[in-house]
Symmetry: C2
């Protein structure tokens, strides 16, 4: 285990007339055997303090060492070796931040926490924030907002663990490429303009003090590298934590947010792509869409015979809306109950008491006003269904395009890892019914939770994993879907339930009208 920051206990031989090695040189000499073959450096800004503390501690105690590119840096010296070496792992999401505080001495989790991304006040989505950044001091504001937000999250975690934020000696950050640009205060201008080039994909580590983070000033900030503007470090984290890059069998990783990001590969090769899946899968559609949270309808069943509708909400609270997995369940159930046709349109047959007219056209009442949290019915309209159909079509087209690109078929995939909230809440059976996920045995699909955070935790603990990430971005072939003709063709066929070619979905009932 070679953690990003280490404590090394040493007992140096004190100076004497026969040994006039300088204090800093003495410290390096005592540490040398631990770092054979690599440079050991004391940064100028730390030299006077490190030397003073080393001498004050009578030349024995605990050196604090950071693993930096090409060398190890000695940044501190403590008389006693502390019992914890706290480091923070951060999943820096567009809407939410999720973090854990880890003791690098043993890998144990000291605290976990999350927080809304305060940048939302400057733009709900990435694109509007990129535009905001271009305006007067916009980048500064977005940068400062995210730093403040991380500082608050750090304070929250440190508080839970009974520590001061200044004791946190490292931070690993996993996020999409735009969020990383905001975090590092780098101009995101070219990220959303053809040919979509990041200012940097693999930034060298910096210091917490460089960014105004309220951690230990010399805390190392390690950023998970990205592959491109639309393929961020969060997905590299996913590959790392799923082990896709070391797998003997070919597997797939799916991470769905506003974009669907997909990686296919094994220990020999890796291919990746990303495409706009639309906000439907995040629960970002319609009036009633909501993120997975208390009161969100996450599962729905419709009995085609009795017409009875059963739903399940998160925390079993009164329903407030429908989250992504709930919408998938619902649309699949609509299809099986023949409420919608293969194009995803309301057939207008039966369930008359459930339909209402809204400003946006026909809508279906999932939960009546008397059942809901606020007395208003929870409804889903035709516009929502249309958005969902586009999303599911995009998703399936992406999966087919990337698999075909390498001459494989879905049946060749040993496992499909599904990351994030989407992976946690989705029922693969319903997604297959919709024709969103391929018709494979259900145990092929494996939810892996917040793999962006899991990867960030791993790199704090293991040098080999940090190297794996940098190696990975060199190995990944990135397929740009925006210019991919095959993707566009496949998209059309995928806009039906389950698909125009229903031999692709033998497990799904097919209706002719």
């Amino acid at each position: 285990m070679q953690t990003l920051v280490q404590f090394i206990s040493i007992e140096a031989i004190p100076p004497s007339l026969g040994d006039n090695t300088g204090d800093i040189d003495r410290l390096k000499k005592a540490l040398q055997s631990n770092f054979a073959g690599r440079e050991l450096v004391v940064p100028y800004a730390r030299m006077a303090e490190v030397a003073g503390r080393f001498r004050q501690a009578d030349f024995s105690g605990c050196a604090v060492i950071c693993d930096m590119p090409g060398r190890f840096e000695i940044v501190d010296f403590l008389a006693q070796t502390p019992a914890v070496l706290p480091a923070m792992a951060l999943d820096l999401g567009t809407t939410h931040l999720e973090a854990s505080l880890i003791n690098l001495l043993d890998g144990s989790i000291l605290a976990r926490g999350n927080r809304e991304n305060a940048q939302i006040s400057y733009g709900a989505d990435i694109l509007s924030r990129i535009h905001f950044a271009a305006g007067h001091e916009g980048l500064d504001k977005l940068h400062q907002e995210i730093i403040n937000c991380i500082n608050k999250l750090a304070a929250q975690l440190a508080g839970k663990a009974g520590l001061a934020t200044e004791e946190i000696r490292a931070l690993s950050v996993s996020g999409n490429t735009t969020m990383i640009h905001f975090f590092l205060r780098l101009d995101p201008y070219h990220l959303c303009r053809e040919p979509y080039i990041p200012l940097v994909n693999d930034p060298d580590p910096c210091r917490a003090g460089d960014l105004g983070l309220n951690l230990h000033e010399e805390g190392v900030v390690w950023v998970m590298p990205s592959v491109g503007s639309y393929f961020g470090g969060d997905l590299i984290s996913g590959i790392l934590s799923s082990g896709l890059d070391q797998s003997e069998d070919t597997c797939m990783l799916i991470d769905v947010g506003t974009n669907a990001e997909v990686v296919l590969g094994n220990r020999e090769w890796l291919i990746a792509c990303a495409g706009a899946a639309g906000p439907a899968l995040e629960g970002g559609v319609a009036k009633m869409g909501m993120r997975a949270g208390p009161g969100a309808i996450e599962h729905v069943k419709i009995d085609p015979d009795s017409g009875r509708i059963d739903f399940q909400t998160i925390d079993n609270s009164a329903p407030r809306g429908i989250c992504g997995s709930g919408i998938i369940d619902l649309v699949a159930a609509f299809y099986l109950a023949r409420i919608i046709d293969i194009r995803g349109k309301f057939r207008g047959v039966g369930y008359e008491d459930r339909f209402i007219e809204t400003d946006e056209g026909l809508a279906f009442i999932v939960a009546h006003g008397h059942e809901s949290a606020n007395g208003e019915p929870v409804v889903i309209g035709q516009v929502d269904l249309d958005a969902m159909m586009r999303s599911k079509a995009a998703m399936y087209s992406i999966l087919t395009t990337i698999t075909n690109q390498v001459g494989l078929e879905f049946a060749d995939l040993k496992r499909i890892y599904v990351a994030g909230a989407f992976g946690r809440h989705i029922d693969p059976r319903q997604a297959i019914t919709l024709g969103m996920l391929p018709d494979l045995p259900l145990d092929t699909f494996e939810p892996i939770g917040n793999s962006s955070l899991a990867g960030a935790e791993q790199v704090l603990l293991e040098r080999a994993d940090r190297e794996r990430c940098r190696e990975m971005i060199r190995r990944i072939t990135y397929l740009e879907l925006n210019v991919n003709q095959e993707f566009m063709l496949r998209f059309s066929g995928s806009r039906f339930i389950p698909h125009t070619d229903h031999t692709l979905f033998p497990s799904v009932p097919f209706f002719n009208d």
Copy 2:
């Protein structure tokens, strides 16, 4: 030739939809072949600017690369490759600074200059400055004073070369260990206290901006490493520029200031020592002592038969005082003319018109008032002679002790390099007569000028030489004379002209009284 800072011209392939490498990653990739096997890093503070300039220059131009421990750092990008890459080499002396401005593109000298060390107002010698540093903000003042002084010298050199100081992209500094501590703002407290331990002997390079130097903010500051408190980087420079550490034959290097620093060795081994030689050899004794400069008596002859005294001054100006080499000449002439005895005491025989009584006892008039620059006679007193005798005894004892330490005799030395002003002005014949230098063929002695500056120039130009210096300080065995019994014993025998054992000086006439 691998200079400390380099310009590398590149033409990167511009980004396209098929190549979404980030700007910084693209720059690194284009440079990689030049730096195989070592990390190439863009420091956080430079990332945004380097990326911006690279893009603005349409991805081709000139990268500015610094050779730093364990890695190369890309600190700038220029659209056009400039015709000069100016770097400053500095000999940071206790009393004087001497510098040159070098074009790292071809090694040519752009300008030379020197300046008095402005710290003198806080203490003429090292020890009084160390004590001053311990007082209220003393270290800050001394540090600031030397930085200001270097800034002025840099402006002077840049002006001569028609450049701005901000164009200077590197600085190499060679100086004694205390001056380096002041320069780096490091506490010199333990330098003069047993067991005489520097805070650092081999500091890692830093940035001009870290120290408040008015060079290019990212200019690399490379400090010549030292061996101990009394054996500084100036002498490592001397070894480097004389080539002692690569010599097949065993040679000696002597550098005389307030301390006499001596290195003995060859490409197999190196041994060094330093001892207080007293200020006599720097011209720092007595009322009439002065540094080598216009009006300083540098050579003296006395005809024992006629009693006639001939002297020669620097620049042939009217005499103002006597410099170190003048005093050596004078004392040797006194001995040969039998004006002093073997103990260096005035014999009180003859030359009656030349003697006067002063507050400090008997003195000898070297130049009469009517000959001198200010109408006052230039005199040398018994106290001056006594100081000179101690100095020469110390010098010879140091040379004998170190040579004996390795089981050699003076005759085994192929060459004795004599550094600095002492080497430039001294007449080895007279120094042998005094018993200060060993009685060897005169062509054994080779003056090598300001080898501290010469070494500083070399390290700017050659990576191999930078590595040689760091290798050297590991190879050198340092002999601490302050606790050396043999040295103390030898000192007594050396307090006579030429020595109690006159078989050691066959070329010098011996008088019995």
